[in-house]
C-alpha cells in the first residue's frame, strides 16, 4: 500500500488511497479544448441526424432541405467539393500573407 506524498514532476500528488490510480489518471497530453469541442460537436451532429431520421423518417431537415435545391443545379458534380477545398486553400494563403503583412 502506498501511503505517502507523491510527486509527479514538480507537482504534489494527493494520496490516492493506495492503488496508485491517480498516477495513470493524470494525463500529460491533454488535447486542445477547441479540438475537443469540435469532435464533440461532430459526434453530437451525427447523433442528431440519426435521431431525426428515426423520429421523422423520410422528412427533410427544416430550412436546410429548402436551401439545398437552390445549389443543386450548380453543384451537381463532385468536382465542386475539390474546388471548394482549393478555394479554401487559396484564401488561407491570402489570409496568411495579409496577416503577416499587418503583423509586421
Amino acid at each position: 500500500m502506498l501511503n505517502c506524498e507523491c510527486f509527479l514532476g514538480d507537482q504534489l500528488m494527493e494520496d490516492d488511497g493506495g492503488y496508485g490510480l491517480l498516477d495513470y489518471m493524470r494525463s500529460d497530453e491533454e488535447p486542445e479544448l477547441g479540438r475537443t469541442v469540435v469532435s464533440f460537436g461532430a459526434v453530437a451532429l451525427l447523433l442528431f441526424l440519426v435521431l431525426y431520421e428515426i423520429l421523422f423518417p423520410g422528412h427533410g431537415l427544416p430550412v436546410i432541405s429548402d436551401v439545398v435545391p437552390l445549389v443543386i443545379g450548380v453543384m451537381d458534380s463532385s468536382i465542386w467539393f475539390f474546388i471548394l477545398g482549393i478555394m479554401l486553400g487559396l484564401f488561407s494563403i491570402l489570409a496568411n500573407v495579409l496577416f503577416r503583412a499587418v503583423q509586421e
Binding site: 505517502c4 514532476g9 514538480d10 468536382i79 475539390f82 494563403i93 503577416r100
Partner: protein
C-alpha cells in the same frame, strides 16, 4: 543542311558564343552596354525603380514567394484539367457566367500557371540568390529584380485570363501576358549578367547551369525562328524539348547542386560528375518536353509567328517529313540525355544518403524524391518520343501521362526542394515546421506518382481498346475503354494530393517569414551515420532504438525536456517527504 542538325548547330553556337563573351568580355563595347543596361534597369524606369526597397535578398524572396503561389494555382488548374479529361462537362454551370470551361480548356492555363508562373519564378528566385552569392557581389539592381517579379505575375495572370476568352482577342491578350513574362526575363538576364561581370574569380558550375538555362531558352527560340515556318513541324518540338532540357532541367540541376552542399555543409561526392552533367545538359536533347498537346500553348506563346504547325501534327517522322540522318542524330542526342540524369541522380542521392537527412529534412527529402524519379521519367519520355519519331504512334496516348509524371514527380520536387533548402539563407528564417513540410512532401509524392500510375494504366487500357477496335474493324469516335473511364477519376482524385502538398508547403513558407526560427540557430539533427538527436516519447527497448537507426553517439532526450514547463520529467515517489 538537315533541319535537325541545323537547329542543334544554331543552339550550340549561340551558347558557345555566349560562354566566350562571358569569359572574355567585349572590351569597350561591353563597358558601354553595361552602362546602358544599368541605366535601363534603374533610372530609366523613373518612379517605378523606387517602388521597392531594394533590400538585399528581397528580390529573390519575392520571386520565390510568387512562384510558390503560382505553383499552387498551377496544381489546382492541372487538377481541374485532369478531371475534365474524364468528365468534360462537369463545370458547364459556369457557362451561365459566359465562362466556357469544358473539355481541354483548362490545359493551356495550367501550363502558363505551372511553367511561367510556378517553375520559372522559383528558378529565377533561386538564380537571384545563387549567382550573386557565388559571384561574391550584390545583385546589380535589387529593386528592378523585385519589380520584375510583379511584372511576371501580372503577365502570367493576363495570359491565363486571355486563354479563357476562346477567341482571337483573347489569344492576343494571352500573347501580351506572355510577352510581359519574356520582357521581365530579359531584364533579369541583364541584371544577372551585370552581376557576373563584376565577379573576380571563375564562374562556378551552378552559375553556369543558370546562365546557360536562361540564354539557352532564347537560343532555342532563335533556332526555331531562323529555320522558318517550312521546318516548323520539326523545329517547334525541338525548341520545346531544348527549352525543357536546358532551362527547366538544367537550372533545376544547378539549383540542387548548390542547395545540397549549402544545406548539409558537405561537398557533393563527385565533382567530375557535376561537370559531366553540365556538359551533358548542353549537348543532349531532353525528350521530356515533347507532347503534341502543348501545341495550344505554343500557338499563344509564339503569337504572331506563322509556325505552320496544325493541330494533330506531331514531331516529324523519319523518311516522310524529315531526313533519317537528322532523326538519327536527334534520337541519339535524346538517348544520351538518359545517362546525364543517372549521373545527376547518383551524385545527389549519394550526398543526401551520406548526410543522414533523408526523411528528416523536408528540402532534402523532396530533392531525393525528385532525383530518384528523374532517370525513370527520362527513360519513359524517351520511349514515347522515339515512338513518335519512328512514326508508329502506338504510345501517343500515354504521352500526356508521362509529361504529367515527369513534371510533378521529378522537376517540381527538385525545384521545390532546392528552393526550400536555400530559403533560410535568403530570408534569414528556417522553415516554420519540418514535420508539416515532410507531410507535404509525402502528399506531393503520393499524389503525383499515384496520379501518374493510374493515368498510365488508363492510357494502356485505351491503347488495348483501340487495337481491339482495329481488329474488329469498327471505329467509334471518342470511345474510351470502360477500364480507363474507371481509372481516370481515381487518377485525378489522387492528383489532389499534389495540390494539398503544394498548399501545405506554401503555407509553411509564408508562416516561416515571421514564426520560423532565425536561420542558423537550429543545429542539424542528422549526421553521417544516423540521427544526432532522438526524442524519447515513452518506455522503449534498445532493440527498438537500434531499429530506428540510432547510433552510439545519438543523444537521447525525453519528450518536451527542452521546455521550461516540464511536466513529463522523471516521477519521484518519495516516502520520506
Amino acid at each position: 543542311m538537315d533541319t535537325i542538325i541545323q537547329m542543334m548547330l544554331i543552339f550550340w553556337g549561340v551558347l558557345v558564343l555566349f560562354a566566350w563573351l562571358l569569359r572574355n568580355g567585349m572590351g569597350f563595347v561591353g563597358d558601354a552596354l553595361a552602362g546602358m543596361t544599368g541605366f535601363m534597369l534603374g533610372k530609366a524606369l523613373g518612379p517605378g525603380a523606387t517602388l521597392l526597397e531594394g533590400r538585399s535578398g528581397s528580390a529573390s524572396s519575392s520571386w520565390i514567394h510568387h512562384g510558390l503561389v503560382w505553383l499552387f494555382v498551377g496544381a489546382s488548374i492541372t487538377f481541374v484539367d485532369l478531371w475534365l479529361g474524364h468528365s468534360p462537362n462537369d463545370l458547364y454551370s459556369l457557362q451561365s457566367w459566359s465562362w466556357d470551361i469544358t473539355g481541354d480548356s483548362a490545359f493551356v492555363p495550367s501550363v502558363f500557371a505551372t511553367f511561367a508562373g510556378g517553375i520559372h519564378m522559383m528558378l529565377i528566385g533561386a538564380a537571384l540568390h545563387i549567382i550573386p552569392r557565388l559571384a561574391n557581389h550584390p545583385l546589380a539592381s535589387e529593386g528592378n529584380a523585385g519589380l520584375m517579379a510583379m511584372v511576371t505575375s501580372l503577365g502570367v495572370f493576363t495570359a491565363i485570363i486571355g486563354t479563357q476568352f476562346g477567341n482571337d482577342i483573347g489569344d492576343l491578350v494571352a500573347f501580351g501576358g506572355n510577352s510581359l513574362v519574356a520582357l521581365a526575363a530579359l531584364a533579369i538576364i541583364a541584371n544577372v549578367l551585370l552581376t557576373v561581370r563584376e565577379q573576380e574569380g571563375r564562374i562556378e558550375i551552378p552559375q553556369w547551369f543558370f546562365l546557360f538555362g536562361m540564354i539557352g531558352y532564347f537560343a532555342a527560340q532563335i533556332g526555331f525562328i531562323v529555320n522558318g515556318p517550312d521546318n516548323a513541324s520539326t523545329t517547334l518540338w525541338m525548341m520545346l524539348m531544348l527549352q525543357s532540357g536546358i532551362y527547366f532541367g538544367g537550372a533545376a540541376f544547378g539549383l540542387v547542386y548548390y542547395a545540397i552542399p549549402a544545406s548539409t555543409g558537405q561537398p557533393l561526392p563527385s565533382r567530375s560528375l557535376i561537370g559531366l552533367t553540365l556538359i551533358g545538359t548542353i549537348l543532349t536533347v531532353s525528350p521530356s518536353g515533347y507532347d503534341p498537346a502543348l501545341l495550344g500553348f505554343a500557338d499563344i506563346a509564339l503569337g504572331p509567328l506563322d509556325h505552320g504547325v496544325t493541330s494533330g501534327l506531331s514531331l516529324a517522322t523519319c523518311g516522310t517529313d524529315a531526313s533519317c540522318t537528322g532523326t538519327l542524330v536527334l534520337s541519339t542526342l535524346m538517348a544520351l540525355s538518359v545517362p546525364v540524369t543517372f549521373m545527376f541522380a547518383g551524385n545527389v542521392l549519394t550526398a543526401i544518403r551520406r548526410s543522414g537527412a533523408l526523411f528528416e529534412d523536408t528540402a532534402l527529402t523532396m530533392i531525393a524524391f525528385g532525383a530518384l524519379m528523374t532517370p525513370i521519367f527520362a527513360i519513359a519520355s524517351l520511349f514515347t518520343t522515339l515512338d513518335s519519331i519512328s512514326g508508329s504512334g502506338e504510345l501517343a496516348t500515354a504521352m500526356s501521362s508521362i509529361r504529367l509524371g515527369s513534371l510533378w514527380g521529378s522537376y517540381i520536387p527538385l525545384i521545390l526542394g532546392g528552393v526550400l533548402a536555400i530559403l533560410p539563407d535568403i530570408t534569414g528564417r528556417e522553415l516554420d515546421s519540418q514535420k508539416e513540410g515532410r507531410r507535404a512532401t509525402y502528399f506531393l509524392a503520393v499524389g503525383s506518382i499515384g496520379a501518374f500510375v493510374f493515368s498510365l494504366v488508363a492510357d494502356f487500357a485505351n491503347i488495348s481498346f483501340a487495337e481491339a477496335m482495329v481488329l474488329a474493324e469498327t471505329e467509334i469516335e471518342g470511345a474510351v475503354s470502360s477500364t480507363a473511364s474507371e481509372l481516370m477519376p481515381i487518377s485525378s482524385v489522387l492528383f489532389y494530393g499534389a495540390v494539398i502538398g503544394v498548399l501545405f508547403i506554401t503555407q509553411n513558407v509564408i508562416r516561416s517569414a515571421s514564426t520560423g526560427a532565425p536561420a542558423g540557430t537550429l543545429e542539424p539533427r542528422f549526421d553521417v551515420l544516423g540521427p544526432s538527436d532522438y526524442v524519447l516519447a515513452g518506455p522503449t527497448t534498445v532493440r527498438d532504438l537500434l531499429t530506428a537507426g540510432l547510433t552510439l553517439d545519438t543523444m537521447i532526450s525525453p519528450e518536451n525536456s527542452d521546455e521550461e514547463d516540464d511536466n513529463v520529467g522523471p516521477t519521484h515517489l518519495s516516502e520520506e517527504e
